[in-house]
Symmetry: C2
Subunit: 339 residues, 2 copies
């Protein structure tokens, strides 16, 4: 691989995350020599703008990757399982946004603010974590380094973008229909979305009662933080918001911790912006997190349900498409080329 | 008071809860002799339909209550503080939906499924609890009777209706403007609401970090359940949903409890409907809770962050305007006349 000026490919270039991958590579002036864009047959032939140039979208096939140094995959687990091994055999390093390889012991699962050292251990694939796991871990990690975290209870407020561009459009279209009193047949998500919310519509394991999203978040947080004994309980809920995920976090530490202490730690943490204006009643909101690289953190307070003083409550919001997906992948790629 | 055929007054008849009070009195065939409707000067003179008859809205004043047996107040704390004592002195029993008197030791705070016996202790005013407290306590109470609850961690997903009819209209109008790419200046709520969510916009106590809504929910749950030592931590969030509140609950009991046990208890509980279809991925949703008297409960599972087996997680949704406000008040009034 040319570390200085790699040839970069995006697989799933026409999706919601694909668009943000292109935008992040451009806005961060990623030093690539050439950008290649891949998608399914349906989108092949379109051109997408990158640095003022229309780049053709190519149909992904079994011989797409020779010459590619870094392949950013964001086309779902099925595509990743099939094509990522080919990309690796053809010489690329894959940064995979799907869940296909995240829990494989040999695959680093990386949030650069947390475990950048894991990147060096890759054997071809580096996994980009689940978006909720990323948004949660960015503020949890510096706190965990300050005082180890024992337990996390989380309830999510997840945006449409997590289910892709079609789900965002379904939220817009179904809401417009609702406001006009018109019928709307939902196609992308399992439930009506206009002014509604619902438990994350991934399969629920009848044995545990947890859905796949919740299971991902819990497993991946432990792996990213290298904290196999961390106790985590998550409820994942889809809310009618377009593109940033919010999370209500209750966090139990090994020792008592004051909100002021947490605020000091978070003020120095990278990737975090404190939005905690008590007088102005201004706290993290998805519309303000949208388009931002940082995860917003506020409502930092003692959890009054834990009299030991070891627990804090807080509320976070992060752009699902940026830090929750595309930005994190590009940050991994930046670390790859910087060494 | 004529217990059999009371004269009933609604104060705040033109609000969102007022409309549901009228509808609940009608749908439940409340045996009233006469219904009187009060509102501010602005609304006086309008007529509202009750049992096919247009009832004039009268301007509330200091001499409105002679002859009234039961006054259902839902016009905010300021109106309740001023006029409820007058109503009591003029011979009415007040069922007050505001927070004005809820925490006064002499005032019963009643959810009929939980503490109907408290009604008999009233000295003129019976308080109707905060809507989140009601929606939470209906399923928590039968569980607490089965095995005492030690701790509750809750994150809410609160609808526009909790801030009144104008907030519901702001959600509709601001969302319509957003979809048309038009500007919208929010007036009712503190933050933009279209496809957004925000920490409940009541005042945050700088000493504790909790807002007034959260403080109400925590205090009122303890009072309704007569459980002064119950540990509760709540995060209250306003989501872009029209009229039902949802809550993610993590509940710690004094002894281990299996999800099946909780499901059995809840199946027999009044005011609760279990919606927990794991195979069909169908759980409580605000659009299905809207217009329903029951609180919907689902996602009942072990909280995997508590290895003791003493904790469960669940997700509930209840109509804020019905069980969270008007229906509960009418149910209290029904108990008043029946016994």
């Amino acid at each position: 691989m040319s570390l200085q000026h790699p040839i970069v490919a995006i697989v799933g270039a026409t999706g919601a995350v694909g668009a943000e991958l292109i935008a992040s590579l451009e806005s961060r002036a990623f030093p690539l020599e050439r950008l290649r864009l891949f998608a399914s047959e349906r989108s092949a032939g379109r051109r997408l703008l990158f640095r003022g140039e229309g780049i053709p979208v190519e149909q992904l096939n079994e011989d797409s990757f020779p010459g590619t140094d870094i392949a950013l995959f964001s086309a779902g687990s099925v595509v990743s399982r099939r094509f990522a091994p080919m990309a690796v055999r053809q010489g690329a390093v894959v940064v995979d946004n799907s869940s296909a390889f995240r829990m494989e012991p040999a695959v680093p699962l990386v949030v650069p603010e947390v475990n950048p050292e894991a990147i060096a251990r890759h054997i071809g694939v580096i996994a980009n974590p689940n978006c909720v796991a990323i948004v949660a871990v960015v503020p949890l990690w510096p706190l965990h380094r300050h005082i180890p975290i024992r337990r996390v209870v989380a309830a999510t407020y997840q945006a449409a973008s997590g289910a892709g561009a079609a789900a965002m459009e379904e939220l817009r279209a179904s809401t417009a229909a609702y406001l006009q009193g018109a019928a709307y047949q939902h196609r992308v998500l399992a439930h009506p979305y206009a002014f509604n919310l619902f438990s994350h519509d991934t399969r629920v394991d009848p044995a545990t009662g947890y859905n796949e999203e919740e299971t991902k978040v819990m497993r991946e947080l432990r792996k990213i933080m290298a904290a196999p004994d961390l106790r985590i309980g998550v409820t994942c809920v889809r809310v009618p918001v377009l593109r940033a995920h919010s999370i209500a976090l209750t966090v139990e530490f090994e020792r008592p911790i004051a909100p002021e202490q947490a605020r000091e730690v978070l003020a120095d943490a990278s990737g975090v912006r404190i939005v905690d204006d008590v007088a102005g009643n201004h706290f993290p909101m998805p519309i303000e997190a949208s388009g931002q690289n940082d995860v917003l953190v506020g409502r930092i307070r003692r959890d009054v349900s834990d009299p030991s003083g070891c627990s804090l409550a807080m509320f976070v919001a992060g752009d699902q498409l940026l830090k929750g997906a595309a930005l994190n992948a590009v940050q991994i790629a930046e670390r790859l080329i910087s060494g």
